[in-house]
């Protein structure tokens, strides 16, 4: 970290009441990050989606049935006390995934990864994907690949980077203009930008000037599997209790607690 910069904790607050499950975030992510595709993507264990929208259901019978969509990017876990002991970082034998104390982003360095998939086993959020095959872009389609993100190869793990290249581009621009800090709108992820429902808010969780700072304190906010101590940086907000319970933070007999 440069000595002039304040450490940041980039994260997201996703409003599940507003999320419509349209899938735009998934596609924006694929298009931004050169995510490959295969002829058949219906086996979801093998389908690479850095950000996947899950469909939750309350398990009740008609007409009390209810559904809710939950977009799941990498949670960029900080681990206890944000020391960077996220589940994946702790187990990677190749230092191919690391926790940045500068941004709070969990990186993935493809050229270091040798595909042991230990991190995939460690990640409680299924946020990591393995390239079982070399990606193939049908003839002509490689023309739309973005130079900002290197296409991956067979045998490496990949995952959401919070569009880290956008952070780098924004920082470069700021340095050129003699600034050391970014405005909130200078660095936004592709999914946040594309969301037609404005359900995703992205920013520095520790910066009171950023919208996420207050949003994460919503009484209806929760994180996924909080009790594991992963300390994820993606917050969800839902006014529906059954959705908050779907974050797997409660035993059956426990009551749902509102934050703060």
């Amino acid at each position: 970290m440069g000595k002039h910069e304040k450490p940041k904790k980039y994260g997201m607050v996703i409003n599940l009441d507003m999320c419509t499950g349209c899938g735009a975030c998934m596609v924006a992510c694929m298009a931004e990050n050169n995510v490959p595709f295969k002829e058949d993507e219906s086996d979801k264990l093998l389908s690479i989606t850095w950000l996947r929208v899950y469909k939750l259901s309350n398990g009740k019978k008609f007409p009390d049935a209810d559904i809710c969509y939950l977009p799941r990017p990498c949670q960029h876990c900080g681990g206890k006390g944000d020391h960077g002991h996220s589940p994946c970082v702790s187990v990677c034998p190749a230092t191919a995934t690391d926790y940045s104390h500068e941004t709070g982003i969990v990186s993935q360095i493809y050229t270091r990864c040798f595909g042991c998939r230990y991190c995939m086993a460690a990640c409680p959020y299924h946020a990591r994907y393995f390239n079982w095959w070399d990606p193939v872009w049908p003839k002509g389609m490689e023309k739309y690949l973005s130079p900002n993100v290197s296409p991956r190869m067979r045998g490496v793990v990949e995952k959401c980077s919070f569009c880290f290249h956008r952070y780098q581009l924004a920082m470069n621009k700021a340095y050129l203009e003699g600034r050391r800090e970014l405005e909130e709108d200078e660095y936004q992820t592709a999914c946040t930008q594309a969301c037609p429902a404005n359900a995703i808010t992205f920013g520095d969780l520790s910066n009171p000037k950023h919208k996420v700072y207050e949003l994460k304190k919503d009484p209806n906010a929760f994180r996924l599997l909080e009790r594991l101590g992963t300390n994820p940086k993606v917050y969800y907000v839902s006014s529906r209790e059954w959705v908050r319970r779907a974050g797997d933070n409660y035993l059956q007999h426990e009551e749902t607690v509102k934050l703060n």
Binding site: V27, A31, E41, P63, F114, P138, P147, S150, P196
Partner: protein, 743 residues
């Protein structure tokens, strides 16, 4: 040296220890991971200067602004245009995947003529000259045989310079058979014609409404302009606006609404009138509007009060009468209530009764032409296309005198403009060959029209079909000649209207990249073709080429459009009530019965009252499955859940109780049979659906396009029949009787 056991073991152990301690294995492992990753076929995208170009997306009638990111001259990503009045930065899955369509495998790479049988995928590449001569020859032949009226054109839209060029060509040539693909626009235009007396499109001031009552409209499934509706939905959550969704299935809209009220499908009209009953009875209606601006309200009121009490409505709709009363009070009590209709994405028009009842509901609470209400957006205000009248020769004159093949505008369907469902039906039922030459532009009727079986039959009866599609869709696949248009990112085109938008707006689609293949702008093709034909037809259009035509037509708007990608009428105000109605009485006309001499409002049934079909099949729409004239590109099909599509199998939703009755479990294979045909599908058990209903996704079962979409699932249109609305002739089918057979 003698090798004994001891030295052998020492050597092995020592060797192993030495190797382990040396850097060799680690170096090898490292190298291996590098070597296996350094394949030359892993692409390295070229770097370059970054720029953005603004355009308008034309993949659906939503009219979103797009900003395309370019690396030098290479587009790499499509994003929503920040600050655009329709989508302000947001974009849908299709819009975001546009580059996969541009560079995709399903592009038609040049003009082609069929050599094998239709649909055999046996094509011969020909030159543009040859292709255009082929069409010109056909056209000459028909014209000299006095059969100019047998030329027809099916278009995705009827507005904008390109559809207008097609229309103008047909005019000058001598045919009245220009047909637009069906949608709720047909029904809303009819309602505004009948009740307001205006030629207008319906715009909805959704951003300002505080109570949205949706009669099965998929506001989160792609109704209207999808991204605008999503963003409005987000703003209601923030502002406290309420959404009530009437729906027979727990759609995404229903799940996100404040209240979901399940209804027996097809009975929306009854509920609307039941709500009107309560509003009138409790005197909750807008007295100012009804007293000053309504005509024949008393007659309408009598019918509603006599026949649509909450008790009788409960029996038909399955909705409890206390819910009906409460809903009516909430709706009438809201500051800016708005009721909308048109099922799912609104791909099909609906019953005129239903649209009029819902519009009357808006009228009752005064939500017409007001803040947060439904507006009649005058088509004339958008109409910048002011071309001189076509000078018709004698052939064209006699062609113009004929009735349309679909009967629209004739005695039986006086106010209807296009009836593609009747077009197909009349071709099939006639002994003559009604259509001898068909142009298809911006549409894929072979796939998207309901009752595929009949569409196929009608196509077989048409001797020559020309497709202008950029992609190898089903219609192109079954055409005789393809004259591929540039893809939407390669061409200029004006987009004169955004579905359901409340202000006059024009979008401009601009070429972001040079044409990738040997394609030609359809506008240019029409202009060249006319030149070839000479005489009055050539005289009808004097432009050099399409770009000149577009520039001239847009006049002073051209520059704004070229720069921003859109032009919006800033002077347009909320239309209000005064001088808004152009009916003979200059009031909002409630007199429904007189017009159609129908027994009051009618509930439309569905095809198949045979007891061997105990279930009802309803199609459902999803943002992740494009079901318009363009199919899902690879990124979009990737987002489809595995409870909708698994491998090549499509799933239909049924209630677990229905499943139990048929002995089915999650994933069971069944034959889904309707009077129109049968398909092999699998079942997904879903608690969010009425018993005895089967819901099937639209947008699967393509036979055209590339391997990423083709052959996956089944096309539900194969099973759905049409059901003619007696008042308008529009197709008002919302489903069809069905049965499930376990296999």
């Amino acid at each position: 040296m003698k090798i004994d056991r001891r030295s052998f073991l020492s050597f092995i152990i020592g060797g192993a220890a030495g190797t382990t301690l040396s850097p060799l294995p680690w170096k090898l492992m490292d190298d291996m991971s590098i070597w296996t990753q350094m394949w030359p076929w892993t692409p390295v995208p070229e770097n370059g200067e970054v720029s953005y170009a603004n355009s308008t997306c034309t993949l659906c009638p939503g009219g979103c602004g797009i900003s395309v990111r370019l690396i030098d001259d290479r587009p790499v990503k499509i994003e929503g245009t920040e600050g655009h009045p329709v989508n302000d930065g947001g974009l849908c899955v299709m819009g975001l995947s546009g580059l996969q369509l541009l560079y995709g495998q399903s592009r038609v790479k040049g003009p082609m003529k069929r050599v094998g049988k239709r649909g055999e995928k046996n094509w011969e590449q020909i030159s543009w000259d040859e292709a255009i001569s082929m069409v010109a020859e056909k056209l000459d032949e028909l014209r000299s045989d006095g059969e100019s009226h047998t030329l027809s054109c099916i278009s995705g839209s009827d507005q904008g310079t390109v559809p207008e060029l097609f229309k103008r060509f047909l005019d000058a040539y001598g045919s009245v058979n220009f047909t637009r693909m069906p949608s709720i626009d047909d029904s809303y235009e009819l309602v505004l014609k009948l009740m307001h007396g205006v030629e207008a499109s319906a715009g909805f001031d959704v951003e300002n409404t505080d109570f949205l009552l949706s009669f099965s409209s998929g506001i989160l499934e792609g109704w209207g302009s999808p991204v605008r509706m999503f963003s409005a939905n987000g703003s209601w959550k923030k502002s406290g606006g309420k959404v009530v969704q009437i729906d027979s299935r727990l759609s995404n809209t229903a799940a996100k609404a404040d209240h979901w009220i399940p209804i027996n499908p097809g009975n929306e009209v009854v509920l609307a009138l039941g709500l009107a009953h309560v509003i009138i009875k409790d005197s909750l209606y807008n007295k100012e509007f009804i007293t000053n601006y309504s005509y024949n309200f008393e007659n309408w009121k009598r019918v509603v009060l006599n026949e649509y009490s909450p008790e009788s409505v409960e029996k038909v709709t399955g909705i409890n009468k206390t819910i009906i009363r409460a809903l009516a009070k909430d709706f009438a009590g809201a500051k800016k209530p708005l009721a909308i209709c048109g099922k799912g994405q609104g791909k099909n028009p609906g019953s005129t009764s239903e649209f009029m009842a819902v519009h009357a509901l808006n009228a009752l609470v005064g939500s017409i032409n007001t803040d947060g209400g439904v507006w009649a957006v005058d088509n004339d205000k958008q109409n910048y296309i002011q071309w001189p009248d076509v000078k018709k020769d004698s052939v064209a004159e006699s062609g113009a005198q004929r009735d349309r093949i679909d009967g629209a505008g004739t005695e039986n369907y006086p106010y209807t403009r296009y009836l593609p469902n009747r077009f197909i039906e009349n071709i099939n039922s006639s002994n003559e060959s009604l259509v001898k030459l068909l142009f298809v532009h911006g549409a894929n009727p072979y796939y998207t029209l309901p009752d595929t079986h009949n569409v196929r039959k009608a196509f077989e009866k048409i001797p020559f079909i020309v497709s202008f599609s950029s992609y190898m869709d089903e219609t192109a696949l079954n055409a005789d000649l393809i004259l591929p248009n540039h893809a939407y990112l390669e061409r200029y085109e004006d987009v004169p209207r955004t579905r359901s938008f409340n202000r006059p707006i024009i979008g401009l689609s601009k070429p972001i990249i040079e044409p990738q293949y040997n394609t030609r702008h359809s506008g240019d093709v029409i202009i060249t073709k006319e030149k070839k034909m000479g005489g009055s037809i050539a005289a009808a259009l004097s432009w050099e080429n399409y770009e000149q035509c577009l520039q001239e037509t847009l006049g002073d708007k051209w520059e704004t459009l070229n720069e921003n990608g859109f032009w919006v009428d800033e002077t347009f105000k909320v239309p209000g009530w005064k001088n808004a109605f152009k009916t003979p009485t200059l009031k909002c006309d409630f007199s429904y019965n007189e017009l159609f001499s129908l027994p009051h409002f009618c509930i439309l049934g569905i095809k198949g009252d045979d007891p061997s079909y105990p279930l009802a099949l309803i199609p459902y729409d999803s943002m992740r499955l494009a079901n318009g004239f363009i199919g899902d590109p690879p990124f979009v099909i990737k987002t489809v859940e595995d409870t909708v599509l698994k491998g090549k199998d499509m799933f239909v939703d049924i209630n677990p109780d229905t499943a139990k009755k048929y002995g089915l479990v999650e994933g069971s294979k069944v034959i889904l049979k309707t009077p129109n045909g049968e398909l092999k599908v699998r079942v997904h058990l879903f608690e969010g659906i009425f018993q005895n209903l089967v819901a099937a996704p639209r947008g699967l079962g393509h036979t055209g396009y590339d391997k990423y979409i083709s052959g996956k699932g089944a096309n539900v249109n194969e099973l759905i029949g049409t059901f003619e609305d007696p008042a308008s002739g529009h197709d008002a089918a919302w489903g069809i009787a069905a049965q499930l057979i376990k296999v």
